[in-house]
């Protein structure tokens, strides 16, 4: 019954979406208020229907209803409740339902909170949003129905892949989807603007909160995935340039460019064509990612069980959505007239530079990800593109940008003074070089990029703080500095935190990527191993058990200079139903680095085990840096200027004067 209800509400949602896709759009073209007015209620109703459908699927999982094929394939009575729930989206069909749910959430949010949007724009935006949803509903109902029945129903289901049975990973997909599905809103705004033939400061103001929210979620989602890989996969790695990782990273790069570009539209009435194109590209990359994961076109660690017929359907969807939007762009974008002029060296120039670098980086990642496919398609043989390519290409592209990030906020709008800016950054430059030299002398055996990374991280961090101090006139007029700090708009704090957070993350990446120390050996209980100045003692292993697994539990004590500083517990779990083992590393996180221990199989009969010990420097700085970035984004979101008194469509001058 629940399954049928879920299925039925999904079909209803499709019908509502069709109405929402057609009437408000036509209504906006014909100035028909009634039809335009349909946008908000249909968006809310669609959300309600999809929420019910999603709720039904969740209920089926929670009650372990194995008469439904999806539940039987991915769930099991022995699994803890958390993973029964996360199993809802841990598979292809369920994750698609999550996709449309988030599309509907964003649509309903605009309907509910976008009261100050002009009705015509809102109608168009919601229509476009709904068109995307229609495509996905059709995809689900025709090829990927999560409510398909299984007859006869088995007594017990299979299991969710044991690797996915992890609290970190349970939340990774929802967060990720809130991110890159959230960019659908920016996309819808862009299409609506193209249809209207107008992009102005007001449009940029309206688009920014939704884009920022999506960006925050995507950053969080990617970080969560990385963090999970680090502690779960057992060898301290956190980024593999796997096609599906790239599929989430490319929208992030484009989305970051979009955020920055929209600022120029809002403040200086320029870069309109670029911004609209970026909004289209960001969501297009999200859709492309969906295609890559589910079509079987690329091999990847993350890929769902793949099916070429599904691939064909998604490709059709891609062609309609992306092809259609780019065709619209080709046709209508020339009408967007930008009036703001600026010198190459200026704040806008720096933001344009950011645009270009991020887009170039995204293009390079896309090239690497798709190249094996291209070459095979033209019969050029099989080649694989792994991390060495991406690292060799991505890092050099990003270096100029990170260097420029310290300059950007110091440059004036319209015409900036590079020499003056550099004068302010003297301290940052000196400290950056000191960091570079110190790192080089201390760790001569690391890769050059890691050393460079540390220098750049310090440059960026000090540069960002310099700008902040300058703005509050901390050193020139210290008396009123505190007041100035307090009066600074939240969006400015957001920028400071965003850039500073990135600096922290880069330092973390340099450490973790460059100077990891590893030791593999067989250890008897009581044996000691020296690694990176720490002493690891193996305290023996015992048997352990969980709700749906058995485990070997290994204990370690870590000492430095004779004092005990940590006890690590590592597990090797065996899931009898899932049939595969997982490792749970014992990790002690410290600011200087992580102590990381992995227990393996027994060796011989006398209690000896294979062990892997690591020291991963500065890893936690990556997670902290990412959280700071997200916090900065959230802070920007709460800036009252976004929510209260969003401008009416007045003359451009008034809007510009209102900006900082």
């Amino acid at each position: 019954m629940t399954a049928e209800l879920g299925h039925f509400t999904l079909i209803l949602a499709l019908c509502v979406a069709l109405v929402q896709a057609v009437f408000p759009l036509v209504g906006a073209a014909r100035d028909n208020e009634v039809w335009m007015g349909l946008a908000r209620p249909t968006a809310m109703f669609q959300f309600l229907l999809v929420a019910i459908s999603f709720g039904c699927l969740t209920h089926l999982y929670v009650t372990s209803d194995f008469s439904v094929l999806n539940v039987a394939s991915n769930s099991n009575t022995a699994m803890p409740m958390l993973y029964k729930i996360s199993g809802v989206w841990g598979n292809h069909e369920g994750s698609l339902l999550l996709w449309v749910l988030i599309l509907a959430i964003f649509g309903a949010a605009v309907a509910a909170f976008g009261r100050n949007l002009p009705p015509a724009l809102r109608a168009r935006v919601l229509s476009v949003q709904s068109m995307i949803a229609v495509g996905f509903y059709l995809f689900m109902l025709f090829t990927s129905n999560p409510f398909e029945r299984l007859f006869p129903a088995p007594i017990n289901g299979r299991e969710l892949n044991p690797l996915l049975q992890d609290p970190g990973l349970a939340f990774h997909p929802p967060m990720l989807y809130l991110g890159y599905v959230g960019f659908s809103m920016a996309f819808s705004f862009a299409i609506a603007a193209l249809i209207e033939g107008r992009v102005d400061a007001a449009w940029a103001r309206w688009v920014r909160p939704w884009t920022m929210a999506a960006w925050c979620f995507l950053t969080g989602g990617i970080t969560l995935g990385s963090w999970w890989a680090y502690y779960e996969l057992g060898w301290g790695g956190w980024w593999y340039w796997d096609p599906v990782e790239n599929a989430s990273f490319m929208p992030w790069l484009a989305g970051t460019a979009l955020l920055h570009s929209a600022t120029v539209v809002e403040k200086r009435d320029s870069l309109k064509g670029w911004t609209v194109l970026l909004a289209i590209i960001t969501f297009s990359l999200s859709l492309l990612g969906t295609f890559l994961v589910r079509s079987g076109v690329l091999t990847s660690v993350h890929a769902f069980a793949t099916d070429p017929t599904r691939g064909v359907f998604i490709l059709m969807l891609l062609i309609v959505v992306i092809g259609g939007s780019l065709a619209l762009y080709a046709f209508r974008a020339p009408k967007l007239v930008s009036s703001g002029l600026f010198q190459p060296i200026s704040r806008e120039g720096a933001l344009l530079f950011n645009n270009l670098v991020m887009t170039t980086a995204a293009a390079a990642v896309l090239l690497g990800t798709l190249y094996p496919l291209f070459l095979d398609a033209i019969g050029g043989g099989k080649v694989s593109v792994g991390p060495p390519f991406f690292n060799a290409v991505f890092i050099p592209i990003m270096i100029p940008m990170i260097a420029a990030m310290a300059f950007g906020p110091l440059l004036n709008w319209k015409r900036g003074d590079l020499v003056a800016a550099f004068g302010q950054l003297k301290l940052a430059a000196i400290l950056g070089l000191v960091a570079l030299a110190a790192t080089y002398m201390w760790q001569t055996d690391g890769p050059i990029f890691a050393t460079l990374g540390m220098g750049l991280a310090v440059w960026l961090a000090v540069g960002t703080l310099t700008e902040l101090a300058g703005r509050a006139r901390l050193f020139s007029a210290p008396a009123g500095a505190w007041g100035r700090f307090r009066r600074m708009p939240r969006a400015s704090w957001g920028m400071v935190l965003g850039h500073f957070g990135l600096a922290l993350a880069i330092a973390g990446m340099a450490g973790a990527g460059g100077w990891t120390k590893e030791s593999i050996q067989t250890m008897h209980p009581g044996e000691k191993v020296e690694l990176a100045g720490y002493e690891f003692t193996f305290d023996g292993a015992s048997e352990g058990q969980g709700p749906n697994y058995t485990a070997i539990v290994g204990k370690f004590t870590v000492r430095k200079g004779g004092d005990e500083i940590a006890k690590l517990v590592a597990e090797k779990r065996n899931y009898p139903i899932g049939g595969m083992p997982t490792t749970e590393a014992g990790i002690e996180t410290r600011l200087a680095g992580d102590l990381y221990a992995v227990i393996g199989d027994p060796e011989g009969e006398d209690g000896a085990y294979v062990t892997r010990l690591y020291f991963n420097p500065l890893v936690v700085w990556m997670w902290i840096g990412a959280m700071v970035m997200v916090f900065g984004g959230v802070l920007s979101l709460t800036d009252r200027r976004y929510r209260v008194g969003a401008p009416k469509r007045s003359r451009a001058g008034a809007a510009v004067a209102a900006g900082a």
Partner: protein, 191 residues
Amino acid sequence: MNNRWLYTIPLAIFCVLGIYLGIGLTLDPKQLPNMLDGQPVPAFDLPPIKDRGAKGFASTDLEGDVTLVNIFGSWCVACRTEHPYLMKLKEQGAVPIHGIDWREEDPDAGPRWLKRFGDPYTLVGDDPRSKAAIAFGVTGAPETFLVDQKGVIRYKHIGPVNDEVWKEVLQPLIQQLRRNGSQTGGQKGGS
């Protein structure tokens, strides 16, 4: 107006991309090409598996007649699907089939499997450490190689050998090789 066409560039790029993605749907990214096509069989010398006498299987055994070399293992599910057909081929005496028992952890596993399901092989070699398998560029089981009279690899089939594969690919190729091989001087193998 001369820069209006610039706005069509993103669309043009996407069209090209779309075509390649479409082609990509027809390809299998995991299928590796046969690197050894037209090359002599790599040198290997494998010991016998248990209960099969003293003679193992070496590359030098692969001359004189067209042969099939089949990579299998008791752990391999798809090999079971293929096995009855191999038995049928053996009964017909169409072509000698040699086997490489790959990645057996337990030395009894292979012989047990053959005893249970039948033994279509003329010679069998034990390859627990993938020495021969790697030399052949094998990535999974079952894989079957067609080797001609001079010990040159002519075809590699990935996956189970069934009636379709035999009738459409292997049998015609074997017949052609035998015909050409019996002619004096000619070494005109098909590809």
